[in-house]
């Protein structure tokens, strides 16, 4: 049963890496989601300049693979005099990806609020700001929530790409364990299991939440 004895030895190291993966995920969501909200309104703005800027940021963020953005932030930015730590550059890159994808999900949710309800609100004499605050945003973000949660799971898995810019997350820990012990099979099976142990319940949670949220709609 060498698998279990090896696994027991590897686990603490991998859990350290998992902690970094989780922190990177949370930081990217913390900065990315508010930015996504701003971008969603930017895309829907009547102001042409605001709209074009928002569309450009979103299209680059979705068009460029996360791996490219990671490399760009870590290896590219020093060329223009900006040097970020490994974790900071990974956070910036994944924040961009998060903001771009989630802006689209939020925009979709906000524009799915039925036009009749918006007219109902206007006919009552509610201001545009109040209509947004009480009618469009509370329903729009609920409509977007399942997609946002699905994205969070993918983001968590995508943090494994940060090993390419020397962030000490779980994948990079797995590599160094593998390189020093040559037990690659055990290490990567264990790493895969750890990703799954987080991702699968998170997916269940998002389905559950989707059902709860849909109750009154």
């Amino acid at each position: 049963m060498t698998f279990f004895t090896d696994a027991a030895a590897f686990l603490p190291v991998l859990l350290n890496g998992l902690q970094v993966s989780a922190i990177l995920t949370l930081l990217s969501l913390l900065f990315g989601l508010p930015l996504a909200g701003v971008l969603a309104f930017g895309i829907m703005s009547k102001n042409r300049v605001a709209r074009l800027i928002a569309i450009a940021i979103v299209e680059v963020g979705r068009g460029a693979p996360a791996l490219v953005l990671l490399q760009l932030m870590y290896f590219g930015l020093p060329d223009v005099g900006i040097t970020l730590s490994a974790l900071a550059s990974a956070t910036v890159a994944l924040t961009w990806t998060t903001a771009a994808y989630c802006a689209e999900y939020l925009r979709g949710g906000l524009s799915a609020v039925p036009a009749g309800e918006i007219e109902g609100s206007q006919a009552l004499g509610m201001t545009t700001a109040d209509t947004l605050r009480y009618i469009i945003i509370p329903q729009g973000w609920r409509i977007a929530l399942p997609s946002l949660m699905g994205f969070a799971v993918i983001l968590f898995q995508a943090t494994s790409l940060a090993y390419t810019v020397t962030v000490q997350e779980m994948m990079s820990q797995a590599y160094s364990l593998g390189a020093s012990t040559f037990k690659y099979l055990t290490v990567f099976v264990l790493a895969g299991l750890l990703y799954a142990v987080i991702s699968i319940p998170a997916t269940w949670l998002s389905v559950l939440l989707e059902k709860r949220m849909a109750r009154h709609l």
């Binding site: 109902g120 004499g125 201001t127 329903q139």
Partner: protein, 260 residues
Amino acid sequence: MIENPQDRLPGRREVVRVRNLAKSFGENTVLSDVNLTVLEGTVTAMIGPSGAGKSTVLRCMNLLERPDSGTIEIDGHVIDAERRFSNRELFALRRSAGMVFQHFNLFPHMTVLRNVSLPQQRVLGRSKGEADERAMALLTRMGLADKGEQYPNRCSGGQQQRIAIARALALDPKVMLFDEPTSALDPEVGLEVLEVMKELAASGMTMIVVTHEMSFARSVSEDLIVMADGGIIEQGDPKRIMAEPSHPRTQEFLRAVLQR
């Protein structure tokens, strides 16, 4: 024949005046030179074939649709479509008119009570306690006293429409605009809503009602407007028009509806 309601019902104040209203969607001219006057405390029914422009007239009256030209006056608030107007003027006009839609347009993520209470707080600045109290009083009047904590989608269509009426009334509008309030409902359920509307009319509310309910138009309304092809072709005493319509289009329309 177009009668001025003042000739038949003298001595009443004109609460609504629409003058020279015109509206096109692109190439499609939907309204041209619509003029109408509504007297305080009267019920005006509006009928006419599909596509005549009835909904568009109502929607122009509270600026859900921006007219191309013409003036709208409700309870002294005047908006000239060709001039710039401030948001303050727009909201003042909208506050003086309550609107009830064919598909209710309630807010599904809020309880029934909050549907009726929130607009009072945001639009009139009432306190939550005051707004809730008024909401409950209106819901009770609509026969919905036990529905306050329910969500709208759990209510029947007839109940939802009465909630929508309560929501509009809670803002103390001067005029109520109804756009086919019973068309999306089963006939029996529609009757509940018509009952509430009759009671509202009896209490002296000024109402404009777009409807296909000929018996409501005949028995409740004091004034009847017939629209066709983007204009008013006939206006006057409902009983007179239904008995002897003067315009051939009215004759044709009435024959079609009454034969159903």
